[in-house]
């Protein structure tokens, strides 16, 4: 070790020793630490609870921001007109966009559950602040409050209503034989790429009002070989089922009260290889396609969005022709 560093070490030692308090621990510190077994015993849960609260609060903020801002539902372009456009455009099954969403928002699930988790943790902290007989009551109150906040997340989406029927492009319907466990089959008879229209009612099972925000459809015009939904329309005469086409208006989000039904007109387009109006059960076809019986409706409860599948009471089947040039 060099002389320089030895001198430095000496200075270092002197400096460090100079930092040492000449007396022992102050009385105030002695009194403070004497209370540690009492205070720390009550606070043993505080640190992890704080960390959990912080994490959950952060998750809540992220969920709200993501839910409310980043994934706002984006309707497809509406041509022409749309919400707020006046006068209402006449029904045209070739108009694409009204009522169609690419994806749904899940804030209805995220926000109440995350907020309930935050409130639950805070409630737990509050309940544990005093032990003894009151603990069970406090825990019960905290659980009820958190459960109440989370309850909107349990609101179910729309269910199938009491009526449905074909309106355009489903001219061949085949009933199942008695005792069969499969539903009626509606065959598409629209021109290839032509319009399809059916009407059905959706029902709000309650207990809260639900706003129908649209139909979630992932297929776009970029995949014209596949049947897809292109628009929702609403009837203007609630007293008759199956309004005339000139009674329909383009879709706008509509609130459905608990246990009430709403008539919805689903408009779509057949795939480009669809067999067409001449189809019969004896027609020479290459095969049949079906997108399944589920469609997905987006909805809102208390301003928070979600979506749920709805099972159609019929199978929609598209027969496709041999040697389709579009394929």
């Amino acid at each position: 070790m060099t002389e320089h560093s030895s001198a430095m070490e000496l200075r270092l030692r002197q400096t460090l020793v100079g930092l040492r308090p000449p007396d022992g621990a102050p009385d105030a510190l002695r009194a403070r630490v004497a209370t540690v077994p009492d205070t720390a015993a009550r606070a043993w849960w505080r640190t992890p609870a704080r960390a959990l609260t912080g994490a959950v609060a952060l998750a809540a903020v992220v969920a709200v921001v993501v839910g409310a801002v980043a994934v706002q539902p984006t309707p497809l372009p509406v041509t022409p007109g749309g919400p707020g456009a006046a006068p209402p455009i006449p029904f045209d099954p070739m108009i694409e966009g009204p009522g169609i969403l690419r994806y749904s928002v899940w804030t209805l699930v995220l926000v109440p559950l995350v907020v309930a988790a935050v409130v639950g943790v805070l409630g737990l902290r509050w309940a544990l602040r005093r032990r003894g007989q009151a603990l069970a009551i406090r825990l019960a109150i905290a659980a009820v409050v958190a459960g109440g906040i989370a309850s909107p997340a349990l609101q179910p989406g729309f269910e199938m209503g009491s009526a449905w029927g074909p309106m355009l492009g489903y001219d061949l319907q085949v009933e199942p034989p008695p005792g069969a466990d499969y539903p009626t089959v509606w065959y598409e008879t629209a021109e290839p790429g032509g319009p399809l229209v059916l009407v059905l009612t959706v029902r709000n099972p309650g207990p809260l009002p639900i706003r129908l925000d649209g139909l979630v459809e992932t297929q776009t015009a970029a995949t014209p070989l596949i049947q897809r939904w292109t628009a929702l329309w609403l009837g203007t005469d609630p007293n008759s089922f199956g309004n005339r086409f000139d009674q329909l208006v383009s879709f706008t989000p509509t609130v459905v009260e608990p246990h009430q039904e709403l008539q919805v007109y689903l408009v779509g387009r057949a795939g480009l290889c669809a067999f067409g109006p001449a189809y019969t059960l004896a027609s020479p076809v290459t095969g049949h396609t079906s997108r399944g019986r589920e469609i997905e409706f987006a909805y809102s409860v208390l301003g928070l969005g979600s979506s749920a599948p709805l099972e159609l009471p019929m199978s929609l089947v598209e027969p496709y022709r041999e040697n389709c040039p579009a394929a």
């Binding site: 560093s5 430095m8 200075r11 030692r13 460090l16 403070r32 004497a34």
Partner: protein, 191 residues
């Protein structure tokens, strides 16, 4: 009910599992041991942190941590070393937090006086300030090693045992820390 090795009273259920402990007994034993170790702990924290107010907070934090893990202490005789390790960890955490906060250096000018005693006194204070400034540039682990070596006069194996690091690591930390101090103080003196 049974009497534990630390003098605590335990309630034991039918299967032999301890389901409750009389905390007053435990608290009394904890307080007594902590009281004995408090002076050394406070002094060490004061040197480690170079701040007596913060040292009090650090000792209090360490006492809380120690109480929360009181059940993990097997033998009373090892309390002092056990508590010293906890205190070291608390000090390390505080030093780490402190490194994230910008420190503004404030340095006085030598007194404008012919009085040799005043000038010498100022130099002494200034030397100490420069050394403290240089120490503040060390990493928390390096600072801990330096304090344990030069203030507490512990050997490298003792420091290794206390910090839970290997002897080679401690030697490397000390060497690196001294090198940094040398450079920093050398640079200061060259100005």
């Amino acid at each position: 009910m049974s009497l534990g090795p630390d003098g605590s009273l335990s309630v034991v259920d039918a299967s032999g599992l301890r389901v409750a402990t009389v905390t007053e007994e435990r608290a009394g034993a904890f307080r007594a041991l902590l009281d004995e170790a408090l002076d050394d702990a406070y002094r060490r924290a004061a040197v480690m942190l170079a701040n007596r107010i913060e040292a009090e907070d650090a000792v209090h934090d360490a006492a809380e941590r120690a109480w929360r893990s009181w059940g993990s202490l097997r033998e009373r005789d090892s309390f002092e070393a056990w508590f010293a390790r906890i205190l070291l960890n608390v000090c390390r955490d505080r030093l780490r937090r402190r490194r994230r906060v910008a420190v503004v250096e404030v340095r006085g000018e030598p007194p404008d006086t012919e009085d040799a005693a005043s000038t010498a006194a100022f130099r002494g204070v200034d030397d100490r300030a420069r050394m403290l400034d240089a120490l503040s540039g060390l990493s928390p682990d390096e600072r801990i090693a330096i304090v344990l070596r030069y203030e507490a006069d512990l050997t490298v194996p003792e420091i290794a045992r206390l910090t839970g690091a290997r002897e080679g690591t401690i030697k490397a930390r000390l060497s690196r820390a001294l090198g940094r101090l040398r450079v920093r103080l050398g640079e200061e003196e060259d100005r």
